[in-house]
Symmetry: C2
Subunit: 330 residues, 2 copies
């Protein structure tokens, strides 16, 4: 590997000058700078990440902590993050957080603490209090995206409002037997699925309508939606409308309906959340969010936090997109 000494020799300057010329920090005459750059180019010199990082304490590397689920959403956010960070010279380190206790501890107590990253973006991650302490015990700047927490600045859509908006849409169409499909856990006020359920309940309460049914164990997959849909539609008095906590869930509900010969939207209206690229093809009414843009904003926020020490709490936009999967009840 060609090192800084090779460049210094070729440009006939000291390594200190090479470092200054290439990094842009410190004064270097234009003439010298050009000579150094030329030498570096000719030799194909690239600064060693480890050496530079050891000397400066900075890594030009941002970690992204992701749960293992909801592939479309996270990969879209990731590409948004990359599109902001990559042009600014930052690399991305990916940290998966599984459900396995030991694996999670290892990531939080070891992987994230090796000093490999300058900051962390935590995507919709739900951490136990002890895990949160682990994370906060390190001096690592952290930006959250999605889940609510007071522990670090977070970008998020207002999930309660999102759910309210979707549910109100069904109410306005005249529905009164409305079910919800999601993954809320009653003990936890802070996670995304539970906020969406609360918004659903709040919208119904405002209208003086009682929820027709809940399916709450459903993680955000098409399979879970399908199972939930079957359960709901087999009931004696099935709902005329379903608010699903994600588009994938909604797709599953639609498949379950189709299988039973229940027409959408004539017999059953379905609304989701996300703005998944497939939603258009399903004709799915949904509350769209914008994960790619969210990723860009998260990239900007972590750089700001690193540089200035603070970053604002940000509420992200969403938008009801009405398509053919919702209509008035029969």
């Amino acid at each position: 590997m060609v090192g800084i000494d090779d460049v210094a020799r070729r440009a006939e300057v000291s390594t200190a000058t090479v470092s200054r010329a290439l990094s842009g920090r410190g004064r270097v005459s234009e003439k010298t700078r050009d000579r150094v750059r030329a030498a570096a180019d000719e030799l194909g010199y690239v600064v060693s990440a480890a050496a530079s990082s050891l000397a400066t304490g900075r890594t030009s590397n941002i970690g992204v902590l992701v749960p293992l689920t909801d592939m479309w959403f996270f990969s879209t956010v990731l590409s948004g993050i990359a599109s902001h960070l990559s042009p600014r010279g930052f690399d991305i380190a990916l940290y998966h957080l599984s459900d396995r206790e030991a694996q999670r501890r290892h990531v939080l107590e070891t992987s994230l603490r090796r000093g490999r990253i300058d900051g962390l973006i935590a995507l919709s991650v739900k951490l136990e209090p002890a895990e949160l302490d682990d994370l906060l015990a390190s001096p690592l700047p952290v930006i959250g995206l999605g889940a609510r927490t007071d522990a670090f600045p977070t970008l998020r859509i207002d999930d309660v409002e999102v759910a309210r908006r979707a549910t109100r849409h069904l109410l306005e169409l005249g529905h009164r037997r409305i079910a919800h499909v999601g993954q809320s856990t009653p003990e936890d006020d802070f996670d995304i699925p539970t906020s969406r359920r609360r918004g659903f309940e709040a919208a119904l309460a405002d209208a003086g309508v009682r929820p027709a049914a809940f399916v709450t164990g459903a993680d955000f997959t098409i399979e879970a939606g399908y199972r939930a849909g079957r359960t709901l539609l087999e009931a004696d008095e099935p709902p005329t409308a379903v608010f699903a906590a994600s588009d994938e869930l909604a797709f599953g509900v639609i498949f379950a309906a189709r299988e039973r010969g229940i027409r959408v939207p004539e017999d059953l209206s379905v609304v989701g959340v996300d703005g998944h690229p497939h939603a258009e093809f399903f004709g799915l009414t949904t509350v769209a969010q914008f994960p790619s843009e969210q990723g860009r904003l998260a990239g900007a926020a972590i750089l700001e936090l690193i540089e200035t020490g603070t970053a604002p709490e940000t509420t992200l936009p969403f938008e009801l997109v009405v398509r053919g999967s919702t209509g008035p009840p029969a």
Copy 2:
């Protein structure tokens, strides 16, 4: 940050002994080792990645080079890679490769050469010859997954065979007017879409059947499949069967058929490639591959390549899964 000196002081040994005790390299008495470990635990000491990497030349970090497309496939492969590497103490660095020339050069000439990673997994990446030279000019071990190349060891399904299998299935059902939807580029013999087209053509040639139609500009998205489907089905003599180069494409074709009131499979049979989790819900017949397992194998292969200097060329398994989207022609 607590450093190796703090641990050495607390355990009353030298830093050399701390290093040996914690890394497991070199002889250390059991008693000393326990004392060092206890001290490290109490202090919450984690080895600095930069310092360790500078001293050893190893990073415990593997790069993954991904194109920006086909989210489901790549995120599934990624999680397979993580599931192999993470328990072995390796982190993952993500490198996006866009279509932008300047961005690509930067990744290949700079990002990948900072010495940040011990090896690279290149996912279905199609590189220009000059780009390939860039990549090979560095001493970085590389494993390919997907695209064929002689430049480094590659794990791949035999895409020609995959396409043959799918097409033969349609022929065996009795179809003779069969179209193909994909993204092949006639100039390039080595990429995945073109191999799939060749397999399609070969299977038809074996049966003495002429292709009904091609749509070749279609990247592997549901949108492209929808557009291709419309084009094919508007023709004077539409095909009775379609082989789509990916499941997402196939979904799009199915939506296009549904929109025109063309029944699947009575009026149109559709077969895809991938084994996408939605395929089951569409009742899509497909040639399934196993991206999560592919990721695990790629993780194992790159570690083997780093350790031994060689890794075998590997052909990955696939499997025709017959569902309701294919049947005999009317």
